[in-house]
Symmetry: C3
Subunit: 312 residues, 3 copies
């Protein structure tokens, strides 16, 4: 693997998931693989799970890790070509990316959507800037439009807890007080398109995700109907895509309840707002897989780093 | 040892102190003990000594260390049960603690008292939240009501510099411009209760510590009288406990002077405000043990981590 | 080497440069040298290159690294002797430096000039405070008046890309919207004084550097004339030294253009503001050495750490 920017960078998802599940039995089995290799984790936004699980994955592979909060510890970056840089931005992505890639063997980047300018967010200036100018593989630790490490962890979790050949999986929008990016939902959809599953997306009208991503997916506006006979319900808020970045509904009826969940397993990428996105009783039940999903973040990152290390 | 939340979690303090003093001769003697083990240091507040000495202790034991400034790098945490999380807090301690504990073998936490709500501070929501929900041992790197790594370092220092079987040890309040927590004083008192010593606490009226902690201790409101024939004087400011979190006196007469100290050794946990808490001449004299105390923070942390690693 | 505070702390610059160039062929050759040694990197200011390259250098030498943003993660420091510390500063450099040096074998420090008080900046209170009170070697990661790790990297780059026995090297001031310190320019000048080169400094009148540093150097106020037949042009902004810390000109004619550069190699320490300090076309040409200079930061730090480790 050269870069890991999207779930589609994994050639054989089923095999990668099987490998991750095998890896969990002996996480330090490949500790010699990362000897004298360094990964640099650059955070342009906050992070808990991604920060710790990606570090842990690298440690398990015997790598050295350098963590940097780019915004507060480094310099403001300029991404436009040809700019006269006489304002607040001290460094251009061209230099920053080339420079950083000289200090490490892999660079991993988190840079959220700003949700103010769709074209700018979709241009993925940070991630693509590093991809373009860095001389080392780039790993997406959540960008404007995708969170493929989460999607790979979700695929591992689905495999571990699925009992059917073709499970029914529902991605349900949920209310949230703040405008959130589409990254997790997008990558989950992209991952599900690679699965043999009955996959349904449900959300209020106006919350349609990017149609280029949901192309071919079943969309059901009636949440109850969508959830009938579900095996897994993945709940996630996102802001409007058409009315870009706006909160157009906070309808509490869309909060996931135990009654709606039925006997399905509950999934969420975390952090999750209790009793807004999902009822306490669901999160606290044995049907909730959120902690297992978070645990699989280590193995999802480890598989990705391992595949990149193997191709260096 | 399962957790290290208070000095009382050490079964045999005298033996632990002796072990720490032995360890100083060869700090990396047990470097293989921490192989493939990771400690996560979570800071909800600033730290210098604790940050570096606990990292160093873990390194000496061969552990991997992940450091995180939880407040600025992660998500705001909710600690109440049943809350509708539609305000500023994005994640519940239930998920955060379970998740973090999957990425490490030990989690160490610093979360100071807010000093606005006694009941809330005494509930130790951060520390106890992690203790309750994490699946790994928890180490207290200073909580609302205790700083047991400091107290253990102080016990090591007392042993190293004591020449009597039963020394006289005085804990003296000192003035300070800001309201400070009771954690250091509390843990020092708890530690002293395990020592064979003539222990006296001195402070202005109104600065009584939690009586449940000082229960059985001698309290002397006359600082000069308290210090007569002292072998060690431990100086520390704390805010009022009864008039919770308030600065009710800044009386400069309580600043420790060389005259008051006499021939005793001077101790303080640092950071210390010169010429407010203690006179320059005391800090700069050979009687000051503050640098040795800080050095012993490494070995105090190392003994604690070692005991936890041995019981994993 | 005891400390590395200035380029003059290197006894034989030519030999050190040759050693660094040799080291690039096998960066982990001396990995056993740093076994059980720890370097603490203390940042009082932002950093990208220095932060990552110094970490990488230490890793290459097998050292443990502890990184700390002193300002935001620790306590505000007092540097004056005899102060009554009843204001915002919680800790004195005397304690901080002694304490930190107990947790590591080498301490590296970045503390920029404030540019408001020349005498204060030139006193180098942070760097000299650590030098005075720490019990371990101190490395300058850019102080008020010098950036010797950059200067050593620049010397390596000059050697790698020079084809003449006695090249012509020009240090040219460039415009910048903000007031910048003199550290990089100062250390470059000090390094050049150790080289066999035709060295010229060019800047508008009023931008003379500290004459004690430029003593004996050729200064040419006509930028075009200075650049005639140059082999290397090092461009850098600095604020006025005589009218201390002031921006007295932003004359865009001083921005380096391709026409002015001619066939010379272009150098800059980065970060660089495109089309303010230097034209895009220069930075994007094969004549630009900025990425190579940044790469050499790893080897410059590694040579310094290696020499210190060897003398511990």
């Amino acid at each position: 693997m050269k870069h890991y920017l999207s779930i589609n960078d994994i050639k054989d998802l089923e095999a990668a998931v099987a490998e991750a599940i095998e890896l969990k039995k002996d996480p330090v089995k490949f500790k010699s693989l990362g000897k004298d290799k360094t990964v640099c984790l650059l955070f342009f936004n906050n992070s808990l799970r991604t920060r710790l699980s990606t570090q842990k994955a690298a440690i398990n592979l015997g790598m050295e890790v350098m963590v940097m909060n780019f915004g507060s510890e480094g310099w403001q970056l300029e991404f436009e070509d040809g700019t006269v840089m006489n304002q607040g931005k001290a460094e251009h992505i061209k230099e920053a990316a080339q420079v950083v890639s000289q200090y490490c063997d892999i660079v991993a980047i988190r840079a959220f959507a700003g949700l103010e300018n769709k074209a700018l967010d979709e241009a993925e200036v940070v991630l693509n800037g590093f991809k373009k100018y860095a001389n080392v593989p780039v790993v997406n630790m959540e960008s404007s439009v995708g969170h493929p490490l989460q999607a790979l962890a979700d695929a591992i979790t689905l495999e571990e807890f699925g009992s059917k050949d073709r499970p029914k999986v529902v991605l349900s929008w949920a209310p949230h007080p703040r405008a959130l990016p589409h990254a997790v939902a997008n990558s989950f959809v992209e991952m599900m398109k690679l699965q043999d599953a009955d996959f349904v997306i449900t959300h209020p009208k106006g919350y349609e995700l990017n149609p280029e991503i949901t192309n071919g997916c079943q969309i059901e506006y009636d949440q109850d109907k969508a959830m009938e006979n579900a095996d897994f319900v993945y709940v996630k808020n996102w802001s409007s895509y058409s009315d870009y970045g706006k909160v157009i509904s906070q309808d509490p009826n869309w909060m996931l309840t135990q009654a709606q969940l039925g006997t399905a397993k509950f999934m969420h990428c975390l952090p999750v707002r209790r009793n807004v996105v999902v009822a306490d009783v669901v999160l606290d039940s044995d049907q909730s897989l959120v902690v297992e999903q978070a645990n699989n973040r280590t193995y999802s990152a480890q598989i990705v780093l391992k595949k990149i290390l193997e191709s260096l």
